[in-house]
Symmetry: C2
Subunit: 127 residues, 2 copies
DNA sequence: CTCGCCCCTCACATGAACGTCAGGTTTCAC
DNA sequence: GTGAAACCTGACGTTCATGTGAGGGGCGAG
């Protein structure tokens, strides 16, 4: 499969895919004229990369972690790295939960007492 | 208190505080020569801003939300905005939890079977 | 062979949240 | 009143993950 198809199937832009390759996160075979060809596995790979990006990891960190995830590199260092990142994520989850609680409190206040708000407005009213 | 002290007390850089003001997130009185003077309340304000930044909100979004949080602006629109952001945060928490689970699985694999790893290495070995 | 669509490689642009340097002013302790 | 520390306003630099052309080549259908 060529790059456009992979882009479509993963919902990631062509540019982003080239960028992933540039960063060493994704590899592709090249056919005669230099066009990239991907295996089906690339789809999962891209989804994993996206997941880690969404978790706030940098491409550099992802590059370090990928060998641990798929090639099963397994050294004390790699385990420490994995745990470190997981802990980072945990801390971030905690922070997010605090922020959410803060917003929840504000929301409760605004919806609660003396708010002239008996209805529950579940969507943004078209402005 | 002047900007340097506020920076020290909040752990945020002077530059960042000026940036917050530039973005309309933080206001300061000016003394004769143009220097910023902050009330003690500014400390909490900055901490709130940091919390929201940490939750991944943009300065623009924070700017929109702050009036709801502290000036108690309370309109259907503001409530919808608050809920929208809280939901965004919730979704991000979910994504992070998925990423964490993924890492947990990898960690379990690497520490578990046939790993020559009977000890539990809780820290990064000084490299 | 040629049209059209997809692909290629530069390489500059973007936006967010600051860092950093330059050149100048204010404040405050002494 | 004076010198150093802290502050001021620009304004350009940085990093990251892309967006966005420009200019040119690959490749299957007819």
């Amino acid at each position: 499969m060529r790059i456009g198809e992979l882009a479509t199937k993963t919902g990631v832009s062509v540019r982003a895919l080239r960028y992933y390759e540039e960063q060493g996160l994704l590899t592709a075979a090249r056919s005669g004229g230099g066009q990239r060809h991907y295996l089906d596995e690339a789809i999962d790979r891209v989804r994993l990369i996206q997941m880690l990006y969404a978790a706030g990891l940098s491409s550099r960190t992802i590059l370090d972690l990928l060998p641990c995830v798929d090639a099963k590199v397994n050294t004390p260092q790699s385990r420490a790295m994995l745990r470190a990142e997981r802990d980072r994520i945990e801390r971030q989850i905690t922070q997010l939960q605090q922020a959410r609680e803060r917003l929840d409190r504000v929301i409760a206040l605004s919806e609660g007492p003396a708010s002239g708000c008996a209805y529950t407005d579940t969507g943004t009213p078209d402005s």
